[in-house]
Amino acid sequence: MDRWFLIAATLFAVIGAVWGMVSVHRGRRSKWTVFWMGACFLCQLGFLSLRGQARAACPLADHGEILVFLSWSLTLFYLLVGSAYRISLLGVFTAPVVVVFQTIALASGALERNPQRIPGGNPWHETHSATSVLAYGALALAAVAGVMFLVLDRQLKEQHLKSGLFRNLPPVRELLVSMERLLWLGGGLLTIGIIAGFMMPHDSAALGHLLAAVSVWTAYMVVLAIKKTRGLTGRRLSLLAVALFILSLGVFAFV
């Protein structure tokens, strides 16, 4: 049953992505993207709820669950940020990322067919897992906003101003403000996750994961500190948001 929820969530995200791209190509605002992503979000909740019941813990025990939790977090922040800042086009860029993550989770055998109950759950461990993945959702969305900025920046610089995509992209300043706020939000959640990670019981095998996580956290904090104190061009901030997010996915290799 949980897989069906995930398949439905992925299909809704596919529809959201295709619908959004067709609308943008025709130069129209994609009003339905939020609806399809909302449906995707509900199905993700159904999946995570069933897996959570089976695990009797936060469902982050295998790579598939982590990818779905990450997609859920990404969708959640899109629904919050997209409507708050009226960046509906963010959904058009978010939906394909969700599709990729969930397809990998479904196709690669990353999901355990019969999830086992996790014995002896620890609250620090749960906090670490949940806030870290939520942080990744915010950071992923910051990377998506970064990609949008890079596209818009290139079009403005090269004076290619006729495409439907150009007309629908939000203004440069709004993208930069949203990206920075998402980076701060992701950085804050990641800080809580790291602290919880140090507090939870761990053995020497977890050292690689902790080191990778601390490196990622440090890198994000350095970028935010530079942005706050010295300033960064939009292009560099966007490139860093995208590059750091891709690199930070490596942390999961140590889970």
């Binding site: 403005l156 004076q159 203004p171 061009t233 939009g234």
Partner: protein, 336 residues
């Protein structure tokens, strides 16, 4: 009962003639009432904008009503013979069609502009409130507003900016969103700078700085814009705080060089900076546009974008006319 339209516009009359027949917004209702009283027609609406003055009448005898209105207008401007020379006359379906074209922006100086829709609505409302309209004009104007909306939603007649100033403002909004948090500096107090800066102010730009070789002229323009004048040797200091720079000096060489902008990047914390260079020869060194956070547009690019929008609107005319014909055919309007 027959529908008649008598009017003049930017195509048939120069501004010195148009201004003689212009009616202030506050007097539109009274003028419509006066129109009925003096010409003995059943219904009347007076439309008056900076580019046109038109009288829509409904009369039992159109020729007599027209003659009475024309002589009434001639009396207002004795010795000029403006009515015979500059006014156009339309009757029945031609008049109805003309009103639909006016409301849709097809008869405007700037093809597809939307302001005319509101202006006609205001004129009609004034006549309605003054009791100068009845069944024929009420039905005609309501239908014309419906047609105007349909033309705008089903075609792209209003998309794209058709003037250099509006293109620049649209680009500024694409970079900064709402302009209420944006500051603007004008280099060179020329006419084009003034028009572009006015467009930015009308869309909410927070403050304007004007720098010009003649400080008196800078102060004059700054006062007009509600901004501040800056001495020409001090514009670099202001560059660190502004978001948009409009330049149109008459200098024979570049005024803004790459090193001028490089110097203030750190102080600006690398925030986006939009340069609009409307001078010929150009005031801003093209190398400035290579700086990461700088967006530089010169007059040729802006003019090309405006021209493309104008051409695109021209292509839409046929489709707009088809919609108007189809809608009028459905109407079966009395008086047409």
């Amino acid at each position: 009962m027959q529908l008649i339209c008598l009017g003049l516009n930017h195509k048939t009359a120069p501004v010195e003639v148009r201004e003689r027949f212009a009616v202030g917004t506050a007097r539109l209702g009274d003028s419509a009432k006066e129109l009925i009283a003096t010409t003995g027609v059943a219904e009347g609406v007076v439309i008056s904008t900076c580019n046109r003055t038109e009288f829509y009448l409904v009369a039992a005898e159109s020729r007599e009503a027209l003659a009475r209105l024309e002589s009434h207008l001639e009396e207002k401007t004795p010795g000029h013979h403006d009515v015979a020379t500059h006014f156009y006359r339309m009757e029945r379906s031609e008049a109805a069609r003309h009103l639909c074209r006016v409301v849709s922006g097809l008869d405007s100086m700037m093809l597809g502009e939307t302001e005319i829709f509101g202006q006609v609505k205001q004129a009609y409302q004034a006549a309605l409130d003054a009791g100068a309209t009845s069944s024929v004009l009420n039905k005609l104007f309501q239908r014309a507003f419906g047609v105007g909306k349909k033309v705008r939603t089903e075609t792209t007649i209003q998309t794209g900016s058709t003037s250099v100033g509006n293109v620049a403002v649209d680009l500024a909004e694409k970079i900064f969103g709402h302009l209420k948090d944006s500051e603007v500096m004008i280099l060179g107090a020329g006419e084009m700078s003034r028009i572009t800066a006015q467009s930015l102010v009308s869309r909410g730009a927070r403050s304007i700085f004007v720098s010009n070789r003649s400080f008196d002229r800078a102060e004059e323009l700054a006062t007009e814009m509600g901004g501040s004048a800056v001495r020409f040797d001090a514009w670099q200091d202001v560059l660190a705080r502004v978001d948009i720079v409009i330049s149109s000096t008459g200098a024979p060489h570049a005024i803004v060089r790459r090193e001028d902008v490089e110097k203030i990047r750190r102080a600006r914390k690398y925030r986006p900076l939009f340069f609009i260079d409307i001078a010929v020869p150009r005031d801003i060194d093209p190398a400035v546009g290579e700086i990461e956070e700088v967006y530089l547009y010169d007059i040729d690019t802006l003019e090309q974008l405006a021209e493309e929008a104008r051409a695109k609107r021209q292509k839409q005319i046929e489709e707009c006319e088809r919609i108007i014909d189809a809608e009028l055919a459905k109407l079966n309007l009395p008086g047409t």
